[in-house]
Amino acid sequence: MMDEQEFVIDVHGISKSFGSKTVVKNLDMRVAKGEIYGFLGPNGSGKTTFIRMLCGLLKPDKGFGTCLGYDILKESDRIKPHVGYMSQKFSLYGDLTVRENLDFIARMYGLKKCRQAVDECIARMGLETFRNQLAGNLSGGWKQRLTLASCTLHSPKLLLLDEPTAGVDPGARRDFWDEVHKLAAEGITALISTHYMDEAERCHRLAYIAYGDLLASGTVAEMIENSGLATWSVSGKNLHDLSEKLRDMPGIQQVVAFGNTLHISGKDHAAMEKSILPYMSESFRWAKIQTNLEEVFIHLMQQVRNV
């Protein structure tokens, strides 16, 4: 449906194993220019390995494809100057100041007018007050902001962000995402891995990977649609007892407590309705609601486990 578009990432059949353990299995991925592409999956599902393969830190065992039009197997030296990579762990120098860190990175990318580029970057990211502070002394949110500054310093065409907002407060996370959207509007493509559902919902497109396999991809709406899940919400008294009773009923796949309500979802709509019918009494209030992403992802994960 988007054949005519320019793909920044276009890889096929990518596999990677460490020893006998296959971490990424036969993965295909296409990311269009200017897209914010969310990359989701449980811990240890191969997201980090895949991202590292894209930016040339690891070599794929199998597969082929291009990143920014360059061969990911042979031309990682040409890819690197145009990619901004942000690793999971804070990976700038804690014993250098904000300014020194940025200056160092600028020189690594061989920027001309280093000083000017660094000053502009500090101003753009609002880091002025911290410019002479040691990076190691910054709070989590500011560290992450500094890292984003350092990987956008050289005006990359592609951002590879590996769980950039882990452990950052909601305010800082929102600022961070606003920044990413601003960059996307300028034509920068971003591949972002995350565990947060609210962040996933801010992506243009998503991919869900579990234990090396790509399970689903598409826009948020497509993902929910394709899951085929229906969800009911119920409120009332003794919800805990209700959830225990419902959990093993036919057609019910997930029972999740959300404060004073329960969310019950399942794929087989008829069976599910039959199961909850006896409880549609006056003491409970039932409503059919929109399935959310989390339920979709948990559902995907359960499927893999059952296989």
């Binding site: 040339g56 100057p81 990579y85 690793s87 990976s91 120098y93 014993d95 020189r107 061989g110």
Partner: protein, 379 residues
Amino acid sequence: MKSEFFSPGRFRAVVVKEFIQMRRDRLTFAMMIGIPLIQLILFGFAINSDPRHLPAVVLSADNSVFSRSVVTAMHNSSYFNVLRSVSSRAEAQQLLAEGEIQFVLTVPEQFGRRLIRGEKPVLLLEADATDPAASANAMTAFREIVSRSVYRELKGPLADLLPGEEPVTLRIHADYNPEGITQYNVVPGLMGVILTLTLVIITGLAITRESERGTMENLLSTPVKPIEVMIGKIFPYILVGYIQILLILTAAKLLFHIPMRGSLPLVFALSLLFIAANLTVGVTFSTVAKNQLQAMQMTIFFFLPSILLSGFMFPFRGMPEWAQYIGQILPLTHYLRIVRGILLKGNGLAQSWCHIWPILLFWGIVLTVGVKRYRRTLD
């Protein structure tokens, strides 16, 4: 992004970064300056201190003015502490065996009379040479002590015995190992030991720290080349190595009055080789070690044989053969000989060559291993 292979700009940036980090890391910095100073003071004064007042006994069968004069002079020289006279050879040897005394002076019968007759009587000094370094200076001084004291007594009608050859024949019995006992051995040797310790540890740590803290990952996602990182990280420590050499040589001259017979520029030039070899060992360790602790352990693994088997701690020729073979592999062994040779014997490049190529060989092999390992860890 002009240069495909090596970018001086990026190299410079790595060097600048290393210097800033070195300055901020007070502990490491203190270590680099502190280790040489502490070792110099400990080893320099503790080992090198000129042992004096060594216990001695006299077994004398002569009671002439000459023999008394010799004994008094020995005592006054402060090298010997002449405890008493013994009456039998067996007693003297017993004392020596027990370690009660370090020296036995034996004066033969009719020593004084035969001296006056110009027969050059024999004076025998036996030393307990189990610790050769301990008795070496006293033995060296003995010759001078005897001839002075004897000359002093050759007055008046005996003065015509004065010129020409020595009036007394000296015999000194000891397991004399010339390489092991020179007082000046220790401080030049320390230079090699200090360089080995600090350079291997610091480079080992500097690189594993990058991977341990995760900064290596970030670094490798930039266009920087491994070779730029490597050389950029090593370069500052070459300077550190030279600062240490300067520090030690200055102390050697001012504190310990070590003679410097050979050419100092040659010492500096050949030191570069040794520094490079040690840094390469550190870098290679860091490619194998997974964290800083492992790097540290590996360093100690390398450092112990270096300090024990190189001839720094023990006389090289006093070691068992297998230990000598291991010692021959280590760069420190050869560096010690180069530095001692140049400083103490005044050796030049030609005499040093036989110790240069083993270091070169060692360096080449370690470098090959390091580069191979480094590529692989990058994947």
